[in-house]
């Protein structure tokens, strides 16, 4: 390996520090904002450190509003939608989990066919998948709204789930195909000589061997579903079927909500996916690279 001089190492370390501050800074801002009341925040504006550390913003959120008649420092008023925050969080979990399960199952089936049973039309199928990733979701929203209304799926979690599966499947197929294609065929061939059916070889050999690929695809799908705003925003307007991003979007034009409370919601909204990336980074990295470069 090349050796750097001491001066070069100091400069490189400083640059690293700058990048780390750039990454962590905005996240620290969320944490600082969420642990104090607006009054404390305003008490000494020039000091960026939190003036108090309290969990009351979170307590209010999880309790669905301020309790009793105690002085409410966190918000001059409490938007009606915020009462549904715990439900919205649960909805987001249900949506992201269902979307991940469905996408992985259907994606794995299709990806296996594409990587092991290539015909001319499976190639066309892959190009259709690639192309559909480039369709801006906003183009599809009015037609999807009309269609879901006709099907009676408006304002329902299944409506959100099915729509997201449709939009995330192409990406999943793309990622999984590159994983399956990289697996050696010999094991499958051996199993098939022993009398295993093709589907049996897929379930007993290919799936277990591609566990890292499935994990990568699954965690990426979960994260993208958790992030999705436009679909649930357009497809569900009732509080009962809102997801976390929709609740957050509702606060945007509401000038009376304190930022401190908003940062508490933001922190709860970003925590699941940030933790997932921290824990499963290796898989996320491999999934994202193979989804973009191979194919």
């Amino acid at each position: 390996m090349r050796r750097r001089s001491t001066a070069a190492r100091i400069i490189l370390s400083a640059l690293n520090l700058l990048v780390i501050l750039g990454i962590v800074g905005p996240l620290v801002a969320v944490v600082f904002g969420s642990v104090q009341s607006e009054r404390a925040l305003l008490s000494d504006v020039l000091n960026p450190l939190p003036k108090e550390v309290t969990l009351s913003n979170f307590q209010i959120l999880l309790a669905g509003g301020p309790q009793g008649d105690r002085v409410f420092e966190q918000a001059s008023y409490f938007p009606a939608n915020l009462k549904f925050f715990p439900l919205a969080f649960a909805n987001s979990v249900v949506v992201a989990t269902s979307v991940t399960a469905l996408t992985l199952t259907l994606g794995a089936l299709a990806a296996y066919a594409v990587s092991r049973l290539p015909f001319r039309w499976t190639h066309a199928f892959m190009y259709a998948n690639l192309t559909s990733r480039m369709v801006p979701i906003i183009v599809l929203m009015v037609p999807l709204y009309v269609t879901l209304r006709q099907l009676g799926l408006l304002n329902s979690l299944p409506g959100i789930i099915l729509t997201e599966v449709g939009l995330l499947l192409p990406y999943a197929v793309w990622i999984l195909t590159s994983y399956f294609a990289a697996l050696p065929r010999e094991l499958e061939d051996a199993a098939r000589i022993d009398g295993c059916s093709r589907l049996g070889a897929f379930v007993r050999i290919v799936l277990p061997l591609s566990a890292p690929g499935l994990a990568a695809c699954g965690v990426i799908t979960f994260i993208l579903s958790w992030h999705e705003l436009l679909i649930p925003l357009v497809v569900s307007s009732r509080p009962e079927s809102m997801t976390v991003p929709v609740i957050l979007a509702g606060l945007v034009s509401d000038f009376y909500v304190f930022y401190t409370l908003m940062m508490a919601i933001s922190l709860l909204g970003l925590l699941p996916t940030v933790l997932l990336v921290m824990l499963l980074q290796r898989y996320v990295v491999r999934g994202l690279t193979s989804g973009a470069l191979k194919g």
Binding site: V19, G33, L199, T289
Partner: protein
């Protein structure tokens, strides 16, 4: 595409032994995904095309009759100064954010690829975090940072003596678009870093060693080895990120809501406002959406051609 181009002959032979044929099995396995593709992407895409050529607003939706209007919706767009401004601002947004993503992406990838610098291990661990932040949360957290009463941007710049009094950042129409670019780039650069880092790791170190023996300096090695071998990935990131930047929505929604005035209206925002806010000009919105989609498709086509040529390293 790295998939093999032929079903092996043993499979064909099996077709006759009672096992389901390869073709039928492939069809069965892809069918569910294909149905989703048709129902959630293809059909709505055609539906939107239909809407783009019909007069569809709140009134027509109530009556249920959608008169055919030919190219009228597209003509209306060409005469709509706000639409043209939105397109223009989208182009500025895309050009700026993609350029920054690539420059920062390559820079940070080189930085974390340094084995001799201990702290780069920490950068490697943290780099993906902004990508994990939901876009709408990203928008809200930056509007907190930009806040004119207590935002940390004001606090930082005031304490450093750069500004004499707190500034209403997002209220300035000359700055607003750039103030959305920063959060967007913050969230999306990690993806670029990831791809560039993977490409850097694929460059054999012997190349550098040989160049060093030949007396090539650091800068020279970067220009003659790193950059050429990084070029295919730069192209992939360029095309991929450009298509997605054209669709920017969440950060605009959260930070400026298109404002002040029309200063941060972008294509996706224009379509959203036209279609989903009174008077619900859905036909015009669909036409605008098609123009956006066609721009993106032209770039997507480039991407497919690119993959066709097969990206290789080393």
């Amino acid at each position: 595409m790295t998939v093999a181009t032929d079903v092996n002959s043993a499979d064909r032979a099996r077709g006759g032994r009672g096992e389901i044929g390869a073709g039928r099995l492939a069809a069965l396995m892809t069918a569910p995904a294909a149905v989703f593709l048709l129902a959630i992407v293809a059909y709505p895409l055609l539906f939107a095309l239909y809407l783009a050529f019909h007069q569809v607003s709140a009134r027509e939706l109530r009556s249920g009759e959608l008169p055919f209007v030919g190219w009228a919706n597209f003509l209306a767009l060409m005469n709509d100064a706000v639409f043209l401004l939105s397109l223009q601002q989208t182009l500025v947004f895309v050009a700026l954010s993609v350029l920054l993503e690539i420059v920062l992406g390559v820079g940070i990838a080189l930085l974390i690829n340094e084995q001799g610098v201990r702290i780069s291990a920490l950068t490697r661990v943290l780099i993906l975090l902004p990508w994990a932040v939901p876009p709408i949360v990203n928008g809200l957290l930056w509007s907190f940072i930009y806040n004119s009463k207590y935002g940390y941007l004001n606090v930082l710049l005031y304490n450093l003596g750069v500004i004499g009094e707190f500034v209403q950042w997002t209220g300035n129409p000359d700055l607003a678009l750039y103030l959305v670019v920063i959060p967007y780039v913050w969230r999306t650069t990690p993806f670029a870093v990831l791809l560039f880092h993977a490409a850097l790791q694929a460059i054999p170190s012997e190349l550098y060693e040989a160049a060093e023996v030949d007396g090539a300096g650091t800068w020279h090695r970067f220009l003659r080895i790193t950059l050429p071998l990084l070029a295919p990935t730069v192209l992939v990131v360029l095309v991929l990120r450009t298509t997605f930047a054209f669709m920017v929505f969440d950060e605009i929604f959260a930070i400026t809501g298109g404002g002040p005035g029309n200063a941060t209206w972008t294509a996706a925002w224009y379509i959203y406002r036209t279609s989903f806010q009174p008077p619900f000009e859905i036909g015009v919105g669909a036409a605008a959406a098609y123009i956006l989609a066609l721009i993106i498709f032209a770039i997507a086509y480039l991407y497919i051609r690119l993959l066709h040529r097969k990206v290789e390293y080393g």
